[in-house]
């Protein structure tokens, strides 16, 4: 008799624990937060079949590797209308400033940092017009002009490498293609102009009157 009661007790206890165990285990909120979920579910990330290659289209790109990031940026030299520069710059600059030559680059007005910091030769090399030059005089290719910008704009460079700065081309899916500095910023006048918003909602005004 006593055994029986003991047995009964055990069974009751056991089923009680079972009940508690299963009632606590619900799958709906498996993770405590979205960050946990992202972390857990991305552990076995296999990659997707979606690619943004088609959306990049015919854009000519070059692949660059900066730190641990490898991605595509638009090719630049073929986009510069008057490249190569030496096609016009056949003589030293001093001689080309005479009146016998057609005026060029009249529309460029430098509005980038102040006069103490920058002028034309901070980036351009009068002895080697086809390339840019770093602050220490090293040659920088026009296709990799971001190396010129990142001499001063180090924070933006870090963000750009990671993807927090600079717009994506194509789509979100790999392969990653990002705009390079000069695709959005005019290097001679890098700030964004103020302008009127693209839209004004007249209905909302009526609604709120």
């Amino acid at each position: 008799m006593k055994n029986n009661i003991n047995m009964m007790n055990k069974i009751v206890c056991f089923s009680f624990f079972l009940l508690i165990f299963f009632s606590c285990k619900h799958h709906e909120n498996e993770y405590h937060s979205i960050t946990d979920k992202i972390e857990a579910e991305s552990k076995n990330y296999q990659g997707t079949s979606i690619s943004s290659e088609a959306h990049i289209g015919d854009l000519k790109t070059i692949e660059i590797t900066e730190g641990e990031h490898t991605f595509l940026i638009p090719e630049r030299k073929s986009q510069i209308k008057s490249y190569a520069c030496t096609e016009c710059h056949t003589k030293p600059l001093a001689q080309m400033q005479s009146k016998d030559f057609k005026k060029a680059h009249w529309d460029i007005k430098l509005d980038h940092a102040n006069e103490n910091t920058m002028n034309c030769v901070t980036c351009h090399n009068p002895d080697n017009m086809d390339h840019l030059k770093s602050l220490t005089g090293n040659t920088i290719d026009f296709n990799h002009s971001y190396n010129l910008c990142n001499q001063c704009h180090t924070k933006q460079f870090e963000d750009w490498k990671g993807g927090a700065h600079g717009k994506r081309i194509g789509g979100w899916a790999p392969p990653r293609a990002s705009m390079t500095c000069v695709n959005c910023h005019n290097p001679h006048k890098p700030h964004f102009e103020s302008r009127w918003p693209a839209r004004f909602n007249t209905q909302k005004v009526k609604e709120r009157e």
Partner: protein, 375 residues
């Protein structure tokens, strides 16, 4: 239709059985309205009785459990049900009553009929989804003579969409809003817009009460910053919870979507959303024919009707194809970043791991997948 076989039509004023008489509104006593001659000899009461008996039959006396689990469905019952539904529905399919109407209008009526009684998109199989999309495309073609491209693409494995917004980059140009309206076929009459750009005073924090989301002056304005809000595609969305008909749900890739054909327009979700992310079609949405974006998705930018909810879907028709949403693509400052949260190498993941990010009303536990950050 009246009981004494009149040759003219008269309204059934003062009679009780409107239901049965409206079951065939064609008013004819002969010809192809789909009704059999037997039906015409009946009184309204008898007709209703017969129709109901034929369609649901003995289920009337059964309780809910039996109706669902104890249904015998042999070929005979199936045919019986089919004919009965056709009989009752003939009124709705009024054009098919018409002997002179062409094949096209009959097909249109057939499509309308099938669309009317389709199920919830969430519960459909892939074939059913494809079928409804095909019907909608065909219907559009019949009505306008133009072909649209509609997708029923499901969520991809290993994808969870997330969004980041750089509040120090946004200049308030509102190019995103325009792109969104054009991409998503939003009502031009009521000037509906999913995205709101709030102009906020520096030093006042996120004060939405004092922010202006409909400014019109040169931007960026001195002493102000701009932040955009839209649907945040919460991982624990309160709008989904409150929907009485399950017309809105969270897809596996994290998108919170609406089945516009299942929505009853109760606007519970609008009230439940803490972020003002949902919009309601108070009037018949109108988009000029030439402005319609013909690249559509069933859950995304297909044409809506009056009285249903809609909202940002992260441009499901674009994002599931690998493109960025229209707002991301239109932003001239690169303030908007979109990507796959499950891909450890994606740019959105880098932003979340390396920038100081925050979300709106994080304490609510809604887990929005829309982060803000600063340079």
């Amino acid at each position: 239709m009246s009981n004494n076989n009149k040759k003219w039509f008269s309204l059934n004023l003062g009679k009780k059985e409107h239901v049965s008489s409206s079951s065939c509104s064609c008013g004819k006593t002969s010809g192809g309205c789909g009704g059999t001659s037997k039906a015409h000899d009946m009184t309204d009461d008898e007709f209703a009785e017969a129709a109901i008996k034929a369609s649901i039959g003995e289920e009337r006396t059964k309780d809910g459990f039996e109706q669902v689990f104890d249904v015998k469905m042999d070929r005979r019952t199936a045919f019986k049900k089919l004919t009965a539904s056709l009989l009752i529905g003939a009124g709705a399919v009024s054009t098919s009553c018409n002997v002179i109407s062409g094949d096209e209008s009959k097909e249109k009526a057939q499509i309308d009929w099938e669309e009317q009684f389709k199920g919830n998109y969430k519960l459909m199989t892939d074939e059913e989804r494809q079928a409804t999309v095909d019907r909608l495309v065909r219907s559009y073609q019949l009505r306008t003579g133009k072909t649209i491209n509609m997708s029923s693409k499901n969520a991809e494995e290993d994808v969870l969409f997330g969004y980041a917004f750089n509040i120090s980059k946004c200049q308030g140009y509102m190019d995103c809003v325009n792109a969104c309206v054009e991409e998503n076929n939003q009502d031009r009459n009521s000037e509906m817009q999913y995205i709101r750009i709030h102009e906020m005073k520096d030093g006042k924090g996120f004060n939405f009460n004092e922010a202006d989301d409909n400014y019109y002056h040169e931007v960026p304005a001195e002493g102000h910053f701009y932040m955009g809000t839209q649907c945040f595609h919460c991982d624990n969305p309160p709008c989904v919870e409150v929907c009485p008909v399950q017309a809105t749900w969270r897809e596996d890739d994290g998108l919170v979507v609406v089945d516009y054909d299942w929505c009853v327009g109760c606007r519970y979700c609008m009230a439940a959303c803490p972020y003002d992310g949902r919009r309601f079609n108070w009037s018949k949405p109108e988009v000029p024919e030439e402005a319609i974006n013909k690249n559509q998705h069933y859950l995304g930018n297909r044409m809506r009707k009056k009285g249903v909810m809609e909202k940002c879907t992260f441009c499901v028709q674009r994002s599931r194809a690998g493109k960025n949403p229209a707002c991301v693509e239109a932003c001239p400052t690169g303030a908007r970043i979109f990507g796959n949260l499950l891909d450890p190498n994606s740019t959105i993941r880098w932003v979340l791991e390396n920038k100081k990010v925050f979300r709106l009303k994080e304490d609510l536990g809604t887990e929005p997948k829309f982060w803000y950050f600063m340079d």
